[in-house]
């Protein structure tokens, strides 16, 4: 297969969902329900193409081309990319392009598959919706944007699609904009993301101003040759961290994780698509994409951010009662894992977890959708519009009424908890092993500690959720009346559950490193100067001048040249595995003890924990803190400024009355002397002079004469 065809296919994959969007936004209203089928079909086609691209990519070796000029098709290692000029500013070309390497190909599959399944799922789930075509149009836009991130081979396109993802998620989360909570959640998601994007943008600016290009491979190349922002390693670290800010926002890492749980206001398929598999994964994907630029310090920060996120989210998830919110915090926690993995230097592992997590988390969300949908229908049938159908306290016993949903849910929960024979076991175990190795090598023991602790908590809260929802007896009338959903809803669940089986990735159920995944997706060599890397990541063999060519696709690392880190990971693998099974098992057991067998009273337990429980239940008060500080501060500043501005304006006219009003409103905040003061003063002075001159005109002619004489005398005395 010619590289051109591969790239063309990639671009076709990218553009097909946009076609959905274009068709549906203009003609959707007339099509009605047909629009759903159109969308699903197109996405199905997309999926097939993605599978085809994946297979082709993984089975073909493309001949390298020698770069000739700055645009055209470039093939280096596993990376096939095309570059072209978007626009030029005189002599300065702004080049962009798309690239496909193994990582991309895999990610394409993840996105299209999940997207397709969500499309399918929504056919049923959203069928009552008035704006059904609009929903599919947005889904198309989202898929397009997400695929754009995946295919981008440069920062500019990355950012472009990054923002598009933001806006389409805004539209999807706020899809039910009649509800204030939904509209707020969409806005919150977008704004919190913007905060991350702000850092991302600055990071990109660092890169562009240093390297003069947006292209990943060119940046890596220059970096490998020792070019650094402002010529300093510190700024390289800063730049890396700024770029990572983008991921913090998108992947809901601490401290910007607050938007994700709120985003559950969106329709559940959207949650599955955006908040399980794709959008939130974009951050992780991006970190993986630019992995070579992170210095040791930057990596360490990344690892800690991931760890903290994983921990905080897990603690919160334990106490939540909303079905989707539990899953949401679980997602945040798992994303923390991925980031942490990337941070400690386990590139493939992190990405592997992304893929496996995508499947089972999507399944979890879709299952929750299935539950909610069923509950909704039941509630509708009972004319009950007050009960919160998402509250797990209102569920229970669904195992019987919804068996398909239950069993798939159970299986993927196991995968999430890291129980052997699931894909989750493979990936999570690998992560824990890496962190353990990292701790051993660097002494940062907190990271593995948190990793294991979170794993235990994950197991606990997932089974809390499962037990409360599905086991026992129905706690409400509605739950009793639920029944299993039909094909478009169940099929995706089953499919996703199936591919969460270990065998799809590695024949060895205990170690994924031997599977095809690890073979195809290999860690790119770092582009950072050696003195800024972890020593343990250095490969013994020194590169000579020629092979310092560290393009993204340069994954052809000689296999037997192995770094200290990789060695340690191998050593740590089995201890970590043992430990993780123990901890996960413990967590599951604990959940059963409390919720299934009720050996302890959960309420009493929480009361005993008191503050800690409250802290967790209120999500560590993040929202409140932000509302009080960042948002409050901004709003206050804006308010003050707007008042100030109002005052400046009106002050000119009716100074005095406004001063009173102003100071009544904002006593002591503002010393109103600045612009308005000056303007007022001028107005007053001119007014005064005008009035004085005015008063001289008394109408008495003799006064006039005196004044003229005084004028004369004054002039004489001035100039004498």
């Amino acid at each position: 297969m010619a590289p051109e065809t591969l790239l063309t296919l990639g671009i076709v994959i990218l553009l097909l969902p946009l076609l959905t969007f274009a068709i549906l936004i203009f003609f959707g209203k007339r099509m009605g329900r047909v629009s759903g089928y159109i969308g699903t079909t197109i996405l199905g086609l997309d999926l097939l193409l993605a599978i085809y691209v994946l297979i082709t990519k993984y089975t073909t070796n493309f001949a390298e081309t020698i770069a000739n000029g700055s645009t055209g098709i470039f093939i280096k290692g596993a990376l096939v990319q095309v570059k072209f000029n978007w626009f030029s500013i005189g002599k300065l070309d702004i080049a962009v392009g798309f690239g496909i390497d193994n990582l991309t190909a895999m990610m394409l599959l993840v996105v299209t598959l999940i997207s397709f399944l969500v499309h399918l799922f929504s056919l049923e789930y959203m069928k009552e919706e008035e704006r059904f075509p609009r929903f599919y149009a947005y889904l198309g836009l989202f898929s397009f944007s997400m695929l754009g991130i995946v295919l981008a081979n440069n920062f500019l396109f990355m950012y472009v699609f990054w923002e598009l993802v933001g806006i389409s998620s805004y539209l999807l989360i706020g899809f039910w904009y009649e509800k204030d909570s939904a509209a707020n959640a969409g806005k919150k998601a977008f704004l919190v993301n913007r905060v991350g994007d702000f850092g991302f943008l600055i990071g990109i600016l660092f890169m562009y101003s240093t390297y003069g290009t947006f292209m990943f491979d060119e940046i890596f190349k220059s970096m490998g040759m020792g070019v650094m922002p402002f010529g300093s390693g510190l700024f390289l670290t800063i730049a890396g961290l700024l770029i990572f800010c983008g991921a913090i926002g998108k992947s809901a890492q601490f401290p910007l994780h607050v938007w994700l749980p709120d985003a559950m206001e969106g329709p559940t398929p959207v949650s599955a698509l955006i908040h399980a598999a794709t959008m939130v994964a974009a951050g992780v994907y991006m970190v993986a994409r630019v992995f070579p630029i992170f210095t040791a310090d930057a990596s360490l920060v990344i690892a800690y951010v991931g760890a903290i996120t994983a921990f905080i989210a897990a603690t919160i998830a334990i106490t939540q009662n909303d079905f989707k919110r539990v899953l949401a915090y679980s997602t945040v926690s798992q994303l923390g894992y991925m980031v942490m993995a990337l941070g400690v230097g386990a590139f493939t592992t992190g990405f592997f977890h992304l893929v496996t997590h995508a499947w089972f988390k999507a399944a979890l969300f879709l299952a929750s959708g299935s539950v909610i949908y069923a509950m909704h229908r039941a509630a509708h049938a009972l004319h009950d519009h007050h009960t919160d159908v998402q509250d797990i306290r209102n569920l229970g016993g669904l195992k019987k009424t919804m068996p398909w949903t239950y069993y798939t849910f159970l299986f993927v929960t196991l995968a999430l908890c890291g129980v052997p024979l699931t894909s989750g076991f493979l990936s999570k175990d690998a992560i824990l092993a890496s962190t353990l190795a990292f701790g051993m090598l660097t002494g940062h023991w907190i990271i593995p500690l948190i990793g294991f602790a979170s794993a235990g908590m994950t197991a606990f809260y997932m089974f809390r959720l499962t037990i409360l929802s599905f086991h026992g007896k129905p706690r409400t009338e509605i739950a009793k009346k639920t029944r299993e959903n039909n094909f478009p809803i169940v099929f995706p669940l089953v499919l996703l559950a199936i591919i969460s089986v270990w065998g799809f990735y590695s024949m060895n159920p205990t170690n994924a490193h031997t599977g095809w995944f690890y073979e195809k997706i290999q860690q790119p060599a770092s582009a950072v100067p050696e003195n800024l890397q972890w020593k343990h990541n250095l490969i013994e063999k020194k590169f000579d001048g020629e092979s310092t060519d560290l393009a993204v696709g340069a994954q052809h690392k000689t296999v037997h040249e192995i770094s200290q880190f990789e060695e340690t990971v191998e050593q740590a693998h089995y201890p970590a595995m043992g430990l993780s099974i123990l901890i996960a098992g413990g967590g599951i057991l604990f959940a059963f003890m409390i919720y299934q067998f009720k050996w302890f009273d959960a309420d009493k337990f929480s009361r005993q924990l008191g503050i800690i429980y409250k802290f967790s239940f209120n999500k560590w008060y993040f929202d409140e803190i932000y509302a009080a500080t960042v948002i409050g501060g901004t709003v206050l500043g804006a308010k003050v400024l707007a008042l100030f501005d109002n005052y400046v304006i009106d002050g000119v006219v009716n100074g005095a009355s406004l001063v009173t009003r102003f100071s009544a409103k904002l006593t002591g905040i503002f010393d109103n002397v600045v612009v308005d003061g000056i303007v007022n003063l001028i107005a007053k002075i001119t007014g005064f002079f005008g009035a004085t001159a005015q008063k001289m005109q008394t109408g008495r002619i003799q006064t006039y004469v005196i004044l003229a004489v005084i004028g004369l005398i004054t002039l004489i005395y001035i100039f004498i």
Partner: protein, 168 residues
């Protein structure tokens, strides 16, 4: 002290004194008659300054014309009554300001005049022959155009004054 000096002092005293009466008198008729003395005094000064023709003109036009005009004016408009200076606070302020201003101006002028060098030519003590001759020559030669324009001016004044003063 020669006779000229004494005469000067007398005339100066008459001029300033009666001018003071003009300015400060409460009775308008007093003022009018005081003005008569002032103008006479000035005519005297002209004589001292060897300006015979001008002195005569002063008496004829000023006293014979203008002053009579003014007295007519007074009689036509005013019952002979007391005329106050401006009253009230604002009047007092104005009076004070006016007094100060004119006093300052007088002071300034006097000081400056005492110190200044003027263009002095010839011997002032030399008694000149009559000035009528040269004035006449000058009026009809160099100052011919002024002479003509003055006539236009008088015509304008006549037309204007008659128009305004005429009853409807």
């Amino acid at each position: 002290m020669d006779i000229i000096s004494i005469l000067f002092l007398v005339f100066a005293a008459v001029v300033i004194g009666s001018a003071g009466v003009v300015v400060f008198s409460k009775n308008i008729m007093f003022s009018a008659f005081a003005l008569l003395f002032t103008l006479f005094g000035i005519a005297g000064l002209y004589v001292l300054l060897n300006a015979d023709f001008i002195a005569i003109t002063q008496i004829m036009i000023y006293i014979g014309g203008i002053l009579v005009l003014i007295i007519f004016g007074v009689m036509l408009t005013t019952k002979i009554t007391q005329i106050e200076f401006r009253g009230g606070l604002s009047g007092k302020i104005q009076l004070g300001t006016a007094g100060l201003a004119t006093a300052l101006l007088a002071f300034t002028l006097v000081t400056v005049f005492m110190k200044s060098n003027w263009l002095l030519k010839g011997d002032p003590n030399k008694v000149a022959e009559t000035t009528v001759n040269s004035i006449g020559t000058m009026l009809l030669s160099e100052y011919l155009i002024q002479f003509e324009i003055a006539s236009v001016l008088l015509l304008v004044a006549i037309i204007g004054a008659t128009f305004i003063a005429r009853r409807k």
